[in-house]
């Protein structure tokens, strides 16, 4: 399957000459593809056929939580009036503000937090926001702290977000059991510690059982505890970050609350904080007074992390999803996510060095994990995340999510097991049943061609 580039179909160059502006304020010409609507429809239909989504089959990408995106949330976000201009006055958008306020409240309850901002437009933006809030808190309290501690198995964004906020990143090695090494943490904390960033269950799917002790250590040193919400979907209704001692957290709405990943966004990364940190949240917060909703600037706000009001339509889908599930559905979501991960693990012939895991597990491929992944494509499923976290040799980080049936998990297990049994050649030449064969990414990076203008073949 091959689909020409739009520019290879039909392209028109338009000369800008009779514009309503003086010539010196305008460009000379623009060239863009100019297909008819029927051609465009076929173009994008064909491209979609060369793309794998959650509705194409199992998609057990560890730490990404590729679950079904309920269709009705799309319709809700497309309701007339769902997306107004963000500069509309509060008085004229009471309904929208009420929805935002409800969502703040829902998220606060789910996370055990006091206040929630909806502004960060993605999980990493949420991390950055949370760290800025922590920083502002420390500065307001005269604390001069320049380090953030991050377990080495943490998501790369943790490191990058802390660095972006101007912190030194202290990487914390794991203990033998795959969890935080409490002694190492004890050694790492100091007067310089602004915060520890932690996800729980961690990226091995293990619950940090020492979380109370960890919190005590960090808090004892005057640091704050940051919760990376990437794995919150494992714990819904069973334990809340706030109850574990976390001071600030972000929610990944496309992971926990099933908004679509969209091939890489838009997402949303609301941030929840305990009461002490609420005055530092971005501006504005939505508050209710006597049934009226207002945009309020928190006393010590860090300012803004998005030019407008965040990715509102994504947040609206989040609201709809939470409302659909309610307490019982949210609680069941985690139960079934954990059940599915454990069932799938029981059906595959791979070593899984660390357990008991929850919603995801990391198997060891015992050969090149990337090859295993490519071969799994040939068996009609999407492979797990590969080669990460590095604590497991040739890692296959696997998260089936609650949305899979037993039959789909069995299908996945067969793909895992066939790939384990296949010979080296089959693996190295895989995939062979996909729209493209194995792509040489190193070569593409050596000779970057990033636009059709850069192609001369």
């Amino acid at each position: 399957s091959y689909e020409p580039l739009l520019a290879e179909k039909r392209s028109t160059e338009v000369t800008v000459d009779e514009s309503p502006l003086p010539d010196d304020l305008t460009r000379e010409s623009v060239e863009l593809p100019d297909p008819s609507e029927p051609e465009l429809a076929r173009h994008y239909t064909r491209l979609s056929q060369m793309n794998y989504g959650v509705e194409s089959g199992p998609f057990p990408l560890g730490s990404c939580t590729m679950k079904y995106n309920p269709k009705f949330t799309e319709d809700v976000a497309a309701l007339p009036g769902a997306g107004t201009h963000p500069a509309r006055s509060a008085a004229s958008t009471q309904g929208t503000l009420e929805l935002r306020h409800h969502l703040q409240t829902y998220l606060a309850r789910i996370g055990g937090m006091h206040s929630v901002t909806l502004q960060p437009p993605a999980g990493a933006a949420g991390e950055f926001t949370g760290i800025l809030v922590a920083k502002a808190y420390h500065e307001e309290h005269g604390n001069d702290r320049n380090e953030i501690i991050v377990p080495e198995s943490a998501h790369g964004t943790n490191f990058a977000s802390a660095a972006l906020a101007g912190y030194e990143v202290v990487s914390l090695p794991s203990a033998e059991d795959g969890r935080v090494d409490v002694d190492a943490l004890e050694a790492a904390v100091s007067d310089d510690t602004a915060a520890l960033m932690l996800t729980n269950p961690n990226t091995l799917g293990l619950f940090e059982r020492d979380i109370e002790e960890i919190a005590e250590i960090v808090h004892g040193a005057g640091g704050l505890l940051y919760y990376d919400g990437a794995n919150l979907n494992a714990l819904l209704g069973r334990v809340r970050p706030g109850d574990m001692g976390f001071d600030v957290m972000h929610y990944n709405v496309h992971k926990t609350f099933a908004t679509p990943h969209g091939g890489g966004g838009p997402g949303a990364g609301p941030v929840g904080v305990v009461e002490e940190l609420a005055p530092y949240l971005p501006s504005p917060q939505i508050e209710e007074r006597d049934g009226e909703y207002e945009r309020v600037e928190p006393e010590h706000t860090i300012g803004k992390v998005h030019g407008f009001a965040g990715n509102w339509l994504v947040l609206l889908k989040t609201y709809a999803y939470i409302a659909r599930l309610g307490d019982s559905g949210l609680t069941d979501t985690s139960a079934k996510a954990v059940l599915n991960a454990n069932y799938l693990a029981s059906q595959i012939e791979y070593e899984i060095p660390f357990s008991p895991f929850h919603h995801e597990f990391v198997a060891s491929a015992d050969r090149d994990a990337a090859d295993v992944a490519k071969r799994m494509l040939d068996y009609g499923v999407h492979p797990p995340t590969t080669k990460w976290p590095e604590i497991v040799d040739e890692a296959l980080m696997t998260e089936p999510t609650e949305a899979e049936t037993q039959a789909a998990l069995d299908q996945l297990a067969r793909a895992f097991n066939h790939a384990a049994d296949d010979g080296d050649e089959a693996l190295e030449t895989a995939p062979e049943r996909t729209a493209a064969g194995r792509i040489d990414q190193a070569d593409a990076a050596r000779n970057p061609r990033l636009s059709w203008q850069a192609l001369d073949d």
């Binding site: 794998y52 995106n69 790369g156 990715n311 309610g326 307490d327």
Partner: protein
Amino acid sequence: MSDTGRGSPFAPHTDAETAAMLDAIGVESQEALFDIPEDVRFDGEFGIAPRSEREIRHEIQLHLDRDDDLTAFLGRGHYDHYVPSMVDHLADRSEFLSSYTQYQPEVAQGFLQALFEYQSMLVELTGLEIANCSMYDGASALGEAATLALRARSIDGTRVLIPELLADGRRAVLENYLAGTDATIERYPMADGNADRDALADALDDDCAMVYAENPTVRGTIEEGLSEIGELADEHGALFCLGTDGVALSLLEKPASVGADVVVGDAALGLGASGGLGLGLFATHEDFLRQVPGRLVGVGEDSDENRAYTLTLQTREQHIRRERATSNICTNQAWVALRAAMHAAWLGADGLVGLAEDCVTNARDLADRLDDIDGVEAPAHDRHHFREFTVRTDRSAADMREELEDEGFAVHAIDDQLLQICVTETNAGQIEDLAAAVEVVA
């Protein structure tokens, strides 16, 4: 499927299946799979009642109905252009919408190609060699441009010069992006809505990392001395970052031709009024290739030597380079970029330029119309305008804004005696109605 309250409607398990799976695992119950110490366990309730799909749609509609039904003449960075139906229908195909970042390119050729096409269109529109797959919005793109300037080897200095007149959101986000650096942000003066180039020349020195200008400006004026700004920045070894948008790019001076090193902005394509959800443009020179934040799609070959697309230069990214990454961005606005590319292709060069020309003439027509009204002067700046313009008022602008809201129109009040009004094809049909309302309140 239809009932609520018994569990997740999106988890498929019957009781029998759950039992069989537990049996295969070898545990007694679902709860036995949770390795959570008793004393942190949550035994409360969220207090969120499950509702049916139908009930939620109804409930949210009722909320939205509480919003006043105003015709918005609002802009200042967020623009409501009509998005053709085709975009919704094709972008909503689940193979696009429910897919992940393209880490397995062999089963993601479709999205990769679409993003590659998006990058290419942005290359054409900016004249720069490289465009990434998206930033969150114009504000974060500006922030990323500033951090790029600070880490680019070719650039010294830590001062970042921004226009005196700038959307609050952009300035505030920029401040946060620079909070972790030793950079300082300084505003340079403006004259009659555009950059005061003499003042800018005075402010510029070799300790500047970046000069930021916009075209059109936040007040909708079209900048007249961009080349001069570009030259000034160049002279002092500073990066010239130009803020604009996807529609304006098709008509106004090509950024590369005025010496822009980075182009940022909101796309203004692919989504209409969306409560703030947008798409951050980011394009730059190939000199900065390894400094670019965000995702890049490149062309390579597959094992059959066919052209194939793949994410490339990922060693810049956080998931590989961690704290030394060019940015912390991971999830971006890929699906909006897909939509913007669809929208631009649907318009074609002809349609896009026509749309941009309408942005000039509609604003001009509305300003002329309003200028005839006693008590207001429009446009307040003696400049060419794009989509929007300011209106000087005899009365309090805040009062007039509120009264116009009562008349059914939303406009900006940006100063004691300044309104700002933005017109696109989606509200151009109500120009006369707005003018009549202004007559009432002026």
